[in-house]
């Protein structure tokens, strides 16, 4: 059951330049799945649309979010402190299909602010996990990821791990996998999709688009899909409802 409710801030911490880790007490935490997201609403009424943020960790009554300040909304969130209340809607979307990777050799690939959902995914997934995390320069969540699989790091400036992107890290470390789960900027996902096609392995990617309703009603957040979509039968899948996680071959990237 999706719910809109007042979440209570348990704690918030700045874990990198403009990057925040926020624990929220929510009633629907137990039903949440890795790869799902929640919508957060601003208190400032001049901003009416929700901010979709991926679930980074799940506990019995709480969710962890890790986000980067990207504009006025996330800046507002960064001022939240323990005890504050904030409206949220969740859990939304489908999440990663863990059953497709169970017991297999799997790449969990995250780029930039696409890294956070990989943490809970890694925690829940029973498989031979290689976590490949791509950063610009500064690391975050790295230790926690490392505790949940073998971690490979790429940084754009080469300050840590492989210099380059997540695919460079795979090549440099001669890694291979049977399945890929990925989240990150579109160019990264596009490259990963190409890599998966070339290697002929199934690959699931988590997509992003501007959202209004977050629940599949407004048709704002579509991406082009190979199969006709369930809603309009026009090859436009809704990222908020049919996704955000899609089989890479199923959508235009």
């Amino acid at each position: 059951m999706k719910k809109k409710e007042k979440a209570v801030v348990i704690s918030q911490e700045c874990i990198g330049t403009d990057i925040y880790s926020l624990w929220l007490k929510v009633s629907f935490a137990e039903d949440a799945k890795p790869g799902q997201f929640i919508s957060i609403y601003c208190k400032d009424g001049s901003r009416v649309l929700p901010r979709p943020i991926s679930i980074c960790e799940i506990e019995k009554n709480a969710l962890r979010l890790v986000y980067r300040i990207a504009g006025a909304g996330t800046r507002e969130f960064s001022a939240l402190a323990a005890g504050d209340e904030i409206e949220v809607l969740g859990s939304l979307g489908n999440g990663f299909p863990l059953e497709e990777a169970e017991g297999k050799k799997v790449f969990l690939m995250g780029g930039g602010i696409g890294i956070p959902p990989m943490l809970e995914t890694a925690k829940q997934l029973k498989a031979d996990k290689r976590i490949i995390a791509g950063y610009r320069d500064e690391l975050f969540l790295a230790e926690e990821l490392e505790a949940n699989g073998s971690l490979y790091i790429a940084t754009e400036d080469g300050s840590e791990g492989t210099k380059g992107n997540v695919l460079d890290a795979i090549r440099e470390n001669n890694l291979d996998a049977d399945v890929i789960f990925a989240c990150g900027p579109t160019p990264m996902l596009r490259a990963i999709k190409a890599y998966a096609l070339e290697k002929n392995i199934p690959c699931w990617v988590s997509m992003e688009e501007k959202m209004a309703c977050g629940i599949g009603a407004c048709l704002a957040c579509v991406c082009q899909s190979k199969e006709v979509d369930e809603h309009s039968h026009v090859h436009n899948k809704r990222i908020c409802k049919d996704g955000p996680v899609f089989l890479s071959t199923e959508i235009e990237l």
Binding site: A212, C213, L219
Partner: protein, 300 residues
């Protein structure tokens, strides 16, 4: 206490509906809202054939509102009749189907098809700013408004509500034209054409360049137009544009709307509709209003 209102002979349990395109066909929001509590559910616009809509990004947030250029993506009337009408028939609420098209023939085809369906009202969108042909082009010309209205009236078995565009010099002209064409009621307002530019990427924020502005920001324009139209024609009015609270809904009713639609507010408060239904009852009780008719157009 009576909250029932009459739109062209159709009696709604209360005056609160949803605005087309913001509520799908109700399925998604039924997780949050008991659809039985709504005066009517208004569906997303449906055309004769499936429409893919516009490229993304389709929306952008603006101060106190948003712009959208969804472009009327819809599954076409076939799927709609098979899937969405039966879903809604399970609820004790009225069904108003929103109709879109590119040509008069398109509209006629959909209306003819819907004439045979067990729905209560049709709302004709001649005011969508986000499609190249049809839509707003019809809604900005009184002759076109009258012509299409009378064509559709010939075909419909249910009352026809014409949905007007605010992007006009004089909304009463369009309202009178719809009345002359035989419309049974009017919905207003649709979105106001707007634009947002992303100054950092130096591009348009929505792929379609322009989009329709909706949300609380536009409410004063909508209330003004409802007031003007209520004083210019005899038709019942469904008022909308930025309604998010009970007070907002009452503004429209006091200005002359018989019913109201909640649109963009669903996105930031999925419970908005039922909260407003309850809020209107509370207001009536507090102010000793026996019948909601006493409030319709009460501010002159």
């Amino acid at each position: 206490m009576n909250t029932k209102v009459n739109i062209a002979g159709v009696i709604l349990n209360n005056p609160v509906m949803v605005a087309s395109g913001t509520f799908g066909s109700g399925a998604e929001y039924s997780e949050f809202v008991d659809l039985n509590k709504l005066g009517a559910v208004v569906t997303k616009g449906v055309a004769n054939v499936p429409w893919p809509g516009n490229p993304t990004p389709r929306i952008a947030e603006t101060y106190g509102g948003m712009i959208n250029a969804i472009g009327l993506q819809n599954p076409g009337i076939d799927v709609f009749c098979k899937r969405d009408i039966p879903f809604l028939k399970d609820y004790d609420t009225k069904i108003m189907v929103n109709v879109c098209g590119k040509t008069t023939e398109d509209y006629c085809e959909v209306v003819e098809r819907l004439a045979e369906e067990d729905i209560d009202l049709m709302e004709i969108n001649i005011s969508c700013p986000n499609v190249k042909e049809g839509g707003i082009a019809f809604g900005q010309n009184p002759k076109a408004v009258e012509a299409i209205t009378s064509e559709l009236k010939k075909r419909a078995k249910q009352p026809i509500i014409m949905k007007l565009s605010p992007n006009v010099t004089d909304i009463t002209e369009m309202a009178k034209a719809a009345e002359a064409g035989g419309a049974d009621g009017l919905s207003l307002i649709n979105t106001i054409t707007g634009m947002k530019i992303d100054v950092n990427r130096r591009t348009f924020a929505v792929a379609n360049k322009t989009g329709g502005l909706s949300g609380p920001a536009i409410k004063p324009v909508a209330v003004r137009m409802v007031y003007q139209v209520a004083n210019a024609v005899k038709l019942p009015i469904i008022g909308m544009g930025g309604i998010a609270t009970t007070e907002d809904a009452l503004e429209f009713i006091l200005a002359g709307a018989t019913a109201v639609s909640v649109g963009t507010a669903n996105f930031f408060n999925p419970y908005a509709t039922v909260e407003i239904v309850k809020g209107i009852e509370d207001y009536m009780e507090k102010n000793h209003i026996q019948d909601i008719q006493e409030l319709i157009g009460a501010v002159k």
